[in-house]
């Protein structure tokens, strides 16, 4: 089971945030096939949000084939977004940590690290497309 949170400054509407949090949990393997999601009533009570907002988020996830509602039982995960690549997350994270240490030793601050990462990431993504 996961717990939802709402961020007032994210720029995303509450329903988009709920969808994103489920997708995120599926990608990271926090949610797996067969796991139950909190009920609409539970979510609207916990976050003090309109039940229709929760329904809308669940409908979209259902439409994407990620979850399925079983009437009277609950809503369950039917597909996960964590693929075989999940296993390689650990080693990749270690590489990234080593790289971050190197960047800090070279005198880069947080902002420069982020900028360097994003420009490299974008440049690289562009190459793949071309």
């Amino acid at each position: 089971m996961i717990e939802f949170h709402l961020n007032g400054r994210s720029g995303l509407s509450p329903y988009q945030q709920l969808v994103q949090q489920v997708r995120h949990a599926l990608r990271l393997g926090l949610l797996d096939i067969g796991d139950r999601l909190p009920t609409v009533k539970e979510v609207s009570q916990q976050l003090a949000i309109n039940p229709n907002t929760v329904l809308k988020a669940y409908r979209e996830l259902e439409y994407d084939g990620l979850i399925a509602a079983r009437p009277g039982v609950g809503t369950f995960v039917t597909r996960t977004l964590a693929d075989a690549s999940l296993a390689s997350h650990g080693p990749l994270r270690k590489d990234l940590q080593r790289w971050l240490t190197k960047a800090r030793l070279a005198g880069l601050d947080e902002e420069s690290i982020e900028a360097l990462f994003i420009t490299t990431f974008r440049g690289n993504a562009g190459e793949d497309v071309a």
């Binding site: 976050l47 003090a48 309109n50």
Partner: protein, 297 residues
């Protein structure tokens, strides 16, 4: 399904002043409606007309398909928690529930008892000894256990601290999820309205400025920033809500159903707070006679 609230040319005049004028509304059932606007805009007047505590000076109002407070059936359809959550200070919590049970044909005692227990109210406690948050929760419990088709709440959380406010809204949303109930609540707290409501009514200066589905409304409002220009050049399908100008720049807040194509504008989407404020300011500037825009060469 008949609309939960329908008003046609509705107006209310107190001796000299119109508190509400030419109000036309058609609110579908099953919604949580947020009624927002500055103090003295006419929010409480509209809510009191909907409950039947006030009678209209002009026009008509229908609630759940009938005239407010017309008969016993009509009274059972609508629950009302007035401003500051009034309770009988000399009566115990339990007495309030007894009263509710005897006065409301559709009273659900199970819901009432369960809620009182969950909130942690002592049935033997006198209501006058309760905290503001507990008093509001007691009033809400009475409104919910009555099992109305429509629950009307006038500034339910205005006097509460942030924790009590959140707990109140949690209880309310839980009940909305549980029962098929429409809700109309007035509030100054736009952040609460944004989370809890899916229908919006903005009331400024005794007039309804805008009403409609929350998500649709948010998707139709934009802020346009660009070089200074005369607003008469803006396309007809872009309704200007508020505008401001410097010697070089023009900022508009508009409502439109089509896309903004003019490349000279920087277009941004708006949050609820900006939309509500724009209607408040827009109404003020039309009243105060805007200075004429001079043509720049």
């Amino acid at each position: 399904m008949s609309p939960v609230l329908r008003a046609r040319a509705l107006g209310k005049k107190y001796t000299q002043r119109w508190a509400l004028q030419n109000c036309n509304l058609n609110v579908p059932a099953g919604r949580v409606v947020g009624l927002v606007g500055p103090n003295g805009a006419g929010k409480s007047t509209l809510l009191n007309l909907a409950t039947g505590m006030l009678t209209p000076t002009a026009g008509t109002i229908e609630v759940c398909g009938g005239r407010p407070a017309a008969d016993v059936t009509q009274l059972t359809r609508v629950g009302f928690v007035a401003q500051d959550a009034p309770v009988y200070t000399g009566l115990r919590v339990r007495d309030h529930l007894d009263l509710g049970r005897h006065l409301n044909p559709a009273w659900n005692d199970e819901i009432a008892q369960e809620r009182i227990k969950r909130i942690g109210l002592d049935p033997k406690q006198r209501a006058g000894k309760l905290s503001g948050g507990q008093r509001a929760q007691l009033a809400l419990t009475l409104g919910i256990a009555k099992q109305p088709e429509l629950l009307i709440l006038d500034e339910p959380v205005a006097a509460l601290d942030p924790l009590a406010r959140r707990e109140f809204m949690q209880s309310l949303m839980e009940s909305v999820a549980e029962q098929e109930m429409s809700v109309i609540l007035s509030s100054h707290l736009v952040s609460d309205v944004e989370r809890t409501c899916d229908y919006l009514i903005v009331l400024v200066d005794s007039r309804v400025q805008v009403a409609g589905d929350m998500e649709e409304l948010l998707a139709q409002h934009y802020r346009l920033v660009g070089p200074r220009r005369d607003t008469s050049t803006v396309p007809a399908d872009q309704q200007i809500i508020s505008e401001s100008h410097t010697d070089k720049q023009t900022t508009l807040l508009i409502r439109t159903e089509s896309a903004v194509l003019d490349p000279s504008w920087t277009v941004t989407q708006l949050g609820l707070e900006d939309v509500v404020l724009a209607y408040m300011q827009g109404s003020k500037s039309t009243r105060e006679e805007r200075p004429q825009l001079e043509v720049l060469r």
